[in-house]
Structure formats: structure tokens, C-alpha cells
Amino acid sequence: MNKILKKEKLNESVSRILIEAPHIARAARAGQFVVVVPQENSERIPLTIADFDRTKGTITIIFQIVGATTAVLNSLKEGDEIAHLLGPLGVPSHVESLGTVVIIGGGVGIAEIYPAVKAFREKGNKVITIIGARSEDLLIYREELERQSNLFKITTDDGSCGRKGFVSDELKDLIAAGEKIDLVIAVGPVPMMKVCCDVTRINNIKTLVSLNPLMLDATGMCGICRVTVGGKVKFGCVDGPEFDGHQVDFAELTGRLKAYKDVEKKAYDHVCRLLGGSNL
């Protein structure tokens, strides 16, 4: 169960793993996620299903080493089994034929947009993909995304690849150039999603964001993932992860994401000692 069939390092801190998970692959749809418990004493962490293959019974997940549990996950090798894997979770993306869809990915969110890019393209949409990162070495999934997109743009903060600037600059230019956009999907760090929403709000373009609140059971039981959307409290795990970006209270989300930052460091140091720093 949950055997890691393939593991690749995409950059210094991001890895991709292919996992044998026939039940999940069978039911998975774009926009959903899984909960991963790499070892019995690990946290339950939510990770987007970056790809799935129903016939082979596999799913792909991409993760960045940001804390103790992702470090443990990264210490597993091909052939190892993940202790627990639950999914697919969350409401699938509503994929339809709309016309022109701009899909934006930032940081590790670049990999997370891949199923949406594929799905919207298959529905006959014109898909414009914009990806951005701090620098070229952090860009992932370039060829895969470029292959699936009608138009493909890259931005980097330092200008080492593509345009120097942010994904939102590229979005602004598209709008200014008169591109008629029917939907924007933004996935990435909270500040990036917020800025994209600010741009589309003044231009009246519907925008979906895929949120990454803290989660525990991820089945609607604990409520740590609560986010305020349009003045109402929603649970990211069962009502999301996708929400109308113009309605999301990003300031509250930012605050809630910080809740365990200080103690997480302690767990990370603990894990690093146990793993001897070899895999980090």
C-alpha cells in the first residue's frame, strides 16, 4: 500500500513522488488533495494531487520541504511505503468550457496547477499559463505546462528567467492588451493570490484561488482550516480548497497560517537531528 514508485528532486527543496494508490487514482479529479502521514508519528499534512493515472492506479504529489513532516516524507525512498494516505479530499474544480482561462502558479503552486491546466485545455478552453518564482532554479514543471498551454509565460523576481517581476505584472499586461479573460485561477503563496485578486477585482474577472490553510483530519472534523469567505466561515478541507478569490479574507488566512510557526521549528530541528541532516 502507498508504495513510492518513483522519486525525483525538482529543485533544492521540492520533490515529486509517484505513489501506488489505486483507490485514490480511481476517484481523483482536478483540484483535489490528499492527506499524507509519512510515518506513524508524523503530522497529517494536506498535499495537492498534482497528477493521477487511473489505469496505472498511481497519483503524483509534489512537495516542498517546509517543516518536520515534509522532511520526513522527503527521507523516504523509492520502494518505501507511506504510512497513511487519505483521499481524494475537497471539492473538485468545476471544469467547463468558458473561452479563455488564465491559470497562474507561484512557487510550489506551479506544480499544483498542472491538473487544472490539463482539464481546462481538454474542455476546449484557450489556456494561458503564467508561472513565477524567485529565480530560475525554483521553476518547476516548465515543459509539462508549456506543452499543455496555448500561451505560456514565466516571471522571476530576479529576472533570471522570463520577465523580471511578478505573475501579477504579466496578468495586468494581458488585460491591458485586450485579452478577453473569462476566468483566472491562482495557486501559490497567499500574497501572490491576494495580489492577483486585487488585479482581477478592478477588472471584474472571476477569480478562483486554491487555499492552503492548516489542516488536521481534513474531513471537516476539526475546523482549524476555517477561512472567512464573503463574511461566512467555511472549512477549507470540505468546502474548498477552491474559493472565490474576491471574497476571501486573506489577512485572516495569513494570521491563521502563522499559528504554529514557532513550535514547528522545534519539530523540524528534532527531525533533522534524527535524520542526521543527510536528506535535507
Binding site: 483507490h23 485514490i24 502521514v37 488536521l216 474531513t219 471537516g220 466561515v233
Partner: protein
Amino acid sequence: MAEKKKRLHMSERTVEDRIRDFEEVPLGYTPEQAMEEARRCIQCKNPLCVKGCPVEVKIPEFIQLVAQGDFDAAVKKIKETNALPAICGRVCPQEEQCELKCVLGVKGEPVAIGTLERFVADWERENVKIRPQTTEHGAQITGKAKVAVVGSGPAGLTCAGDLARLGYQITIFESLHVTGGVLNYGIPEFRLPKAIVNLEVEYVKTLGVEITTDMLIGNVYTIGELLKEYQAVFIGSGAGLPKFMGIPGENLGGVYSANEYLFRVNMMKAWKFPEYLTPVKIGKKVAVVGGGNVAMDSARVSLRLGAEEVYILYRRTKEEMPARIEEIKRAVEEGIVFKILTLPVQYHANSEGWVNEAECLQMELGEPDTSGRRRPVEIPNSNFRLSLDTVIVAIGNSPNPLIPTRTPELKTEKWGGVIVTPEGMTSLPKVYAGGDIVRGAATVISAMGDGKVAAKAIHNQLSKS
């Protein structure tokens, strides 16, 4: 007839000894104490206690066996109707059920039925290896009828155990990575040790029940898909959805639902952080909102995690609290401060966005409401502020909406409960439900009772066809 003796109470660990660890508080009976207490039972011809038990444990019979010192026979007698005695002996509200009906209670104190049940279950655990079980009617049914059970909490385990004993092939699907449902994630170690829960689950497995964890029915397989593979389905997916008050500041840092808090501590073992990697943050001053067992559990967990002051904020008085009397008593002994007639109306934050004050209203009791309890009424302009750094909201849970949402044909009440007949049958043919998914947040034993009733109905249906 035995002379009239006083009820023997279990000895308990002292407060100083117990409030810094997660070990159990009551110590149970010695064999001698158990036999002495069992001899108080007058063996009624028409035992009312059994009528008070949702799973109809053969109470006078097992107690007589205890009195005779035949503990092995006593535990077998209980297990004829109750697969989880070590759990029931600890968390059932016997004072409202079997012991409430005991005739000795009319003039004195009832027989300590719960403590005796706990004793024999513990005796078995310490003295007898789990034995392979034989089915009652195995020959006729084995290998033919398959039943799926959704959820491995008390309702699911009981339904599965009863059907397995009748020879059905049972698979339990559990969404979490650990079995036991609320017994594991909800009730803390010091009230129900997880080793005991795990052993009771192992016992159900020896009856032939298979358990698949990490399987979310509704998302991976729908109820309709299960029915293609199984002849009946029992839904026991519990009351997973935490209620909030909807007051300003409830989403600040430091405000937990009791579910989140207890899940971190009980299931993810955050009390052993960082050996277990899930953290929990507990401040110096903790306020728990609510007056049920979950509120008492949250408060007592906080104390054990090192909180200096722990308050219970409750809008009525102690008399109206739904928590068990003995849990309230232990909370008081341990130094939990009860701020009764207190209703939080807003939480305030420090500059970091972390909760630092609860603004509360003082209440008074008015006329009784539909629940029969006196209604709390706000005293105008009585606002006051309580300084704190952690809030745990323990005001109840609603039925888990996941399966009903994914199964539109399944009829539910407006408040979310799955609608069932007295036999546990839902609006969908061959689909049964019980426990908190039907009742909202209730008790372990009522969930077990529902599991039992549904098992009987499923057996009736399948043995007809």
C-alpha cells in the same frame, strides 16, 4: 439475604499525583472489592437495570458470577451482548441508565454496575489472552452475505461485532488513520486509555471483522457503489462537525474547537511532541466554553499540558451542565475554575493576532425552556473582560455532513441528522445508520445501542432474502 452494606467506591489517584500526567484517575476494584460489591446485588427476578441498558447487558447474571469469583464466566456473560465492556465500564453514564433503575438506589446507593463491568473487563485483559471466537450461526451464512460498516467508532464496532458473530463477512471502512472514532480522537487517555480501545478493537477483529483505515466513504466509493459489493451498509460516521458560536474573534489565533484540541492531543499525541510531530499550543490561562463532558475533558487536558489557570465558561449553572457528575467533581478537585452564568460575546487579540481577552456577559436564570432547563437570560450592561491566551470552544458537534452531501437520496433532518426508522433503516433500501450521525452528539452507549438494533434489522432482512 446479605446484610445491607454501603456501596464500595473505587479509590482514585490524588489530585497532585494525577494532574501532570495522562494516566487514569480511578484505580478500579481489587478482586476482593469486586466480590464484596457484587454481593450487594439482590438479584431481582425482574431486573430493571437491564431495561436501563441500551445494549441489554445481562447485569444480574454477570454480577452473580463476580460474587462467586468466576470472573472469566462473568466477562463472557457481558460479551454475549456487549463487545466493548472495558470502554462502557469507563465512559457510560451509568447513573442515568442501569444504576438509575437499580432498586437499591431507592433507599440507598445503587450497585456499582459500571465499576463491576470495568473490573471484569480489566481482569480479562490482564489474565486471559484474546481467544479466537466462534460464530453462533456461522454455518448457514459464512461466505455469503457481506456487510459494509462505515466508521469504526462505537456504533460501527458494535454493529460489526454483532453481525460477525452471526456469521456475516464484515468490512469496516474508517476514514482516519487510527480506529475507534471518538473513543480514540475524542476521549482523553486519562479517562479511556488508548491501549484499552485498541484491545477492544482487536477483539472485534478476532470475530472476523476486517478494518480498512484511510478510506473515506463518500469520496472514494459512494454508498451506491458499496451496495454493488455488499448486501447492506451501516453508516456510523459520527458527529464530526464542530459548532462555533459565530461571535467576533472566533477565528483568532489561540481559539480552538474542542475537536481540534482533543484530536491533536489524543489522536496525534501532541502531548508527546516533538517525539510525535503534531504540535499543540497551550497557554497559561485557558477558557473552555461549554458544560458537557467534552468541555470537562478539554479543561482537564489543558491542566495536564501545563496551563496555570483553566476556566469553564458556562451560561447556566453547574446544575444544568450536561457533563457527568463525576467528571464535574474531578474537574473541581483538580482546580478548574467554574465561571458559571457567563457567556462570551467577543474575543479580543494582541498585536500578533492572538487571543488575549474574552469579553463576556453575566447571565441569570429565567423560566425553563423546551429542554426543561432554566433559560439563561443576559443581564444588560454586565460586560466584563477575562484575560486569557487560549480558548477552547466545546459547545457540541453536528452530524458529519460528508456522506449525506455525497448521497443526495439519503434523507436528513434540517439539523443534519440522518433520518432512520426505530430499526435503524434509512430512506435508502439496505442502508442503515446509527450513533451520532443520527442523534447528533450523544453518548458512546447510545451509539452502541443503535449499532446493535441495526445489526438485528440487517440480520432480519438478509436472512429473509
